[in-house]
């Protein structure tokens, strides 16, 4: 990075540190911070969408749809995250490849399952075997987003399902009395009012999601905790220009600060959203706002 970094053995103190913190390997950890933030930025709305769909399905009057929603919530909430991440992602990947295999190689005569192996034709591979590394990484990343969205979507669905029930019955009755159709009642009365009940639960989920990112490495996506462990581990002089002892404590301390700051910012933002949602609602919070105004 810097010109004086060519011979790290001669350096000491600050200049050594400056070189050490800008090695290619450290660049990877800075990148992974971006990866984690991007993952959260995409996963949160995706999980919310899954949650909303799940909750709407669960309270649907069409019975099979309601079973589907309730089943999704119950099953995904019940399976341990780590099992879900180990098993489900591989299954999902194989499911995609199987669909592609059926579509692209209709005259393939060998079985897809050969003992332990999962074999599809080369054109059905996802991503293709000869695709660039970044394609593989992006694909892995989106598998991760999808898995996170499904897992956290189930929890969000449960929260939203509860929130929908918490909206005062009188509100719905009034809407019906005005002659609104069930669809109108749902979209104009229920949905706008439920968020204030859902937000405490959803903000909990968000905090858990922030801290669940180390599960990424199970999917081959290298996140900050992986790099902190890798960089902090003791290094002998034979394999690096920057030998050092076990520094994992310092790296994890940096992570701690990062996560604490992140959760603090989240709290502030969530507080603001809560204030806005409470405005004009028939809750004690909304009532307090009305009196203060």
């Amino acid at each position: 990075m810097f010109g004086f970094c060519t011979d790290p053995d001669t350096l000491s103190g600050l200049s050594w540190m400056a070189c050490y913190l800008t090695t290619g390997k450290h660049m990877a950890i800075y990148w992974s911070v971006g990866t984690v933030l991007l993952l959260l930025a995409i996963t949160a709305p995706a999980a919310l969408a899954f949650g909303f769909a799940g909750a709407s399905a669960a309270r649907s009057r069409i019975l099979p749809l309601s079973w589907l929603g309730r089943g999704y919530i119950a099953i995904v909430r019940g399976v341990p995250d780590i099992a879900f991440f180990l098993f489900f992602v591989i299954a999902l990947d194989q499911f995609f490849e199987w669909i592609r295999h059926k579509a692209k190689c209709p005259d393939w005569d060998q079985p897809i399952r050969q003992g332990n192996d999962f074999v599809v034709c080369a054109e059905a591979k996802l991503p293709l075997g000869n695709a660039a590394q970044w394609v593989h990484e992006t694909y892995g990343f989106f598998l991760a987003v999808l898995t996170f969205a499904i897992v956290f979507g189930a929890f969000a669905a449960n929260v939203l399902f509860g929130a929908m029930r918490a909206v005062p019955r009188a509100q719905m009755e009034t809407a019906e009395a005005y002659g609104m159709s069930p669809r109108q009642c749902y979209w104009r009365i229920l949905v706008p009012q439920m968020w204030v009940y859902a937000l405490p639960g959803l903000s909990n989920l968000w905090m858990v999601l922030i801290k669940a990112t180390p599960l990424l490495f199970l999917l081959g996506v290298e996140d900050i905790v992986y790099w902190a462990r890798e960089l902090g581990g003791a290094k002998t002089a034979r394999f690096t220009d920057y030998p050092h002892g076990d520094w994992r404590m310092w790296y994890f301390l940096a992570l701690l600060v990062f996560y604490l700051m992140f959760t603090r910012v989240s709290e502030i933002v969530l507080d603001r959203i809560m204030k806005r949602l409470t405005h004009g609602q028939a809750t004690s919070g909304g009532e307090a706002q009305r009196k203060a105004a």
Binding site: T23, G24, K25, M27, A28, F50, A53, A57, L68, Y72, L86, I90, D93, Q94, F95, F96, E97, I99, R100, A103, Q114, G115, N116, D117, F118, V119, V120, A122, E123, K125, L126, P127, L128, G129, N130, A131, Q133, V135, H136, Y139, F142, I150, G153, F217, L218, G220, E222, R229, E230, G233, A234, T236, A237, R238, F239, T240, D241, Y242, P243, D246
Partner: protein
Amino acid sequence: MKKLLIGTAALAMLAGAAFAESHSVVRLGTEGAYPPYNYIDDDGEVAGFERELGDELCKRAELTCEWVTNEWDSIIPNLVSGNYDAIIAGMSITDERDEVIDFTQNYTQPDPSAFLAMEGMDLDMEGGIFAAQAGTIQASYIAEMGATLVEFATPDETIAAVRNGEADAVLADKAYLAPIAEESADLAFVGEDILIGGGIGLGLRESDGELREKFDAAIQSMKDDGSLNALIEKWELGATF
């Protein structure tokens, strides 16, 4: 949810179609945390004995290869489901693993494993507590020995466990422990070296016979012209062929 799934599948298919081209790339999966066999160097690239070996093997077999890192715990499941095509991660050939995947011929001699403990430690082989990386031949060796086994996900953590007293000693490949013992005054080898496993080989899917033959031939050619021995000596892995 279903619509989303199908939508994503369709999207993935479209994205995949854009890269349809038929010269093949062999993806090599490694752990990147087990020097001198494989580790991540200062530039963030895979390096070590297996990096050099793998690149040379691919050159000889006329394959285009790419390196991927994967956690040790899920390294076999990801191979059999096709996320990469070969494991080259200091994996010893054992009967247990051979039931699930296939191995090429070994490219190192059975590497002696050794116990590393705090200086001046007396080892109690029966009642002692030993650290090993989970899913390794050393872990099963300790379990069979009847001593208490504490397992860790990474090799690095096994050393830390000895340092902080969680374990009396760590059992691992000697080539991995040697540079650590050399540089730390507080750690030393204890007891005799033990030979376990049938040497290290490349792990491949059982259905991938063709690729296995290619790598087998490449390893053989490196054994024949002595270049494999030169590599083993360069990285100080112990016995040559």
